[in-house]
């Protein structure tokens, strides 16, 4: 029996494909699903300790009667944020990523399946505390906010432009500390507007309640904008 001769042949393939194409497809699916159920998805990005969970607790308290809220929390370790938010009587899902420094669309799709999304008006996604990597992953959100707390300093916007550039709003948190620190909200406005002239800046304190009204109003407005 004659042995067949195997030859290796090289083939060039032009791909021109976005490396994150797979994530984009899932993100699109999420966005479409959430739009069908009229559930506003808001992705919250920030450094660790900027006050995402505290802001969500205050938001749940203030808005809970008016809008049905759900939360997806991402952390590298622990369920501590999840426990706090469950304490506010809102449906919550915790994603523990292990080593992954950001959330991806596939994780969100799974998490949304665990929420009564048909009954929810808003789902906040509390991303893993990190100003670099989360910026690159579309989670299917309708709007994205980046938090920056007063103790962190205004130059965070210059040092970590990716998150701020891709956001619809910058939320300056912990403004109750302004009297103790040298922080110029005006500089945050200047830097952020160089990245995106249409970006909104809201300065608030979840602790004292200052500025919370503007934040809540923006969420209501976004819901209207998205679903009429």
């Amino acid at each position: 029996m004659r042995m067949n001769q195997q030859n290796k042949q090289r083939k060039q393939v032009l791909m021109l494909e976005n490396l994150l194409h797979a994530n984009e497809l899932i993100a699109k699916r999420i966005s479409e699903h959430a739009s069908k159920t009229k559930t506003l998805l808001i992705n919250m990005i920030s450094s660790p300790g900027s006050g995402k969970t505290t802001l969500l607790e205050a938001t749940a308290k203030a808005l809970g009667e008016e809008m049905r809220i759900g939360v997806i929390v991402g952390d590298v370790a622990t369920q501590r944020d999840y426990e706090r938010l469950k304490g506010c009587n809102i449906p919550a899902v915790q994603i523990v990523t292990g080593s992954e420094c950001h959330l991806e669309a596939a994780m969100i799709e799974q998490a949304l399946n665990q929420l009564p999304i048909d009954e929810l008006d808003v789902v906040f996604i509390e991303n893993v505390g990190n100003l670099i990597c989360p910026a690159e992953f579309n989670l299917g959100e309708h709007f994205r906010v980046t938090l920056l707390s007063v103790p962190e300093g205004e130059d965070k916007v210059l040092k970590y432009p990716h998150a701020f550039r891709t956001s619809d709003a910058v939320i300056v948190t912990k403004v109750d500390l302004l009297k103790h620190l040298n922080f110029d909200v005006g500089l945050v406005v200047d830097y952020a507007r160089s990245l995106n002239p249409n970006i909104r800046i809201i300065a608030l304190s979840a602790f004292t309640g200052e500025g919370m009204g503007e934040w809540l109003e923006m969420i209501r407005m976004w819901h209207k904008e998205a679903f009429g």
């Binding site: 067949n4 042949q9 090289r10 083939k11 494909e17 797979a22 990190n130």
Partner: protein
């Protein structure tokens, strides 16, 4: 090296895994047995460090169809359209100045993505596979 660079390396590793997934998928589509070369364009407006990406790729590729592949990375500058005067200009970071009016930044037109440009794959070719001509000839005989 501090905590910051550890976080970054994990990020490039996760991207390297996604890269390998994407090229393996393409390999399966065309019936290739291995990937030997990948050209990746890294936009300067992404948070990716090319050296970290190369390092991560060398580890991530083990055991995959791209196990023996070389990764070539081309850094792409950011193309802006000035917010104020709409002039298109190139820059290396997101706070670059418009050469026309001097204002900072602009709408990013390109340079904010990671693009798998092209790949080279190995396909097995069977030399003794009968061509249509040969088959016809043996039939006539």
């Amino acid at each position: 090296m501090g905590n910051g660079s550890c976080v970054k390396r994990m990020h490039e590793f996760s991207l390297a895994l996604s890269l390998i997934e994407a090229v393996e998928q393409k390999a399966k589509e065309i019936g290739a047995t291995s990937v030997v070369y990948i050209k990746l364009r890294v936009g300067m407006a992404t948070a990716v460090v090319p050296e970290f990406m190369t390092e991560a790729f060398e580890v991530a590729k083990i055991g995959s169809l791209a196990e023996n592949a070389t990764l070539e990375i081309e850094l792409e500058p950011i193309m802006f359209s000035c917010w104020k005067c709409n002039t298109e200009f190139e820059g290396k970071d997101l706070f670059s100045r418009c050469p026309s009016c001097g204002s900072i930044g602009g709408r990013v037109i390109s340079g904010d993505k990671l693009i798998i440009e092209r790949v080279e794959m190995e396909v097995m070719k069977n030399e003794n596979e009968p061509t249509e001509q040969t088959a016809q000839a043996s039939f006539d005989a």
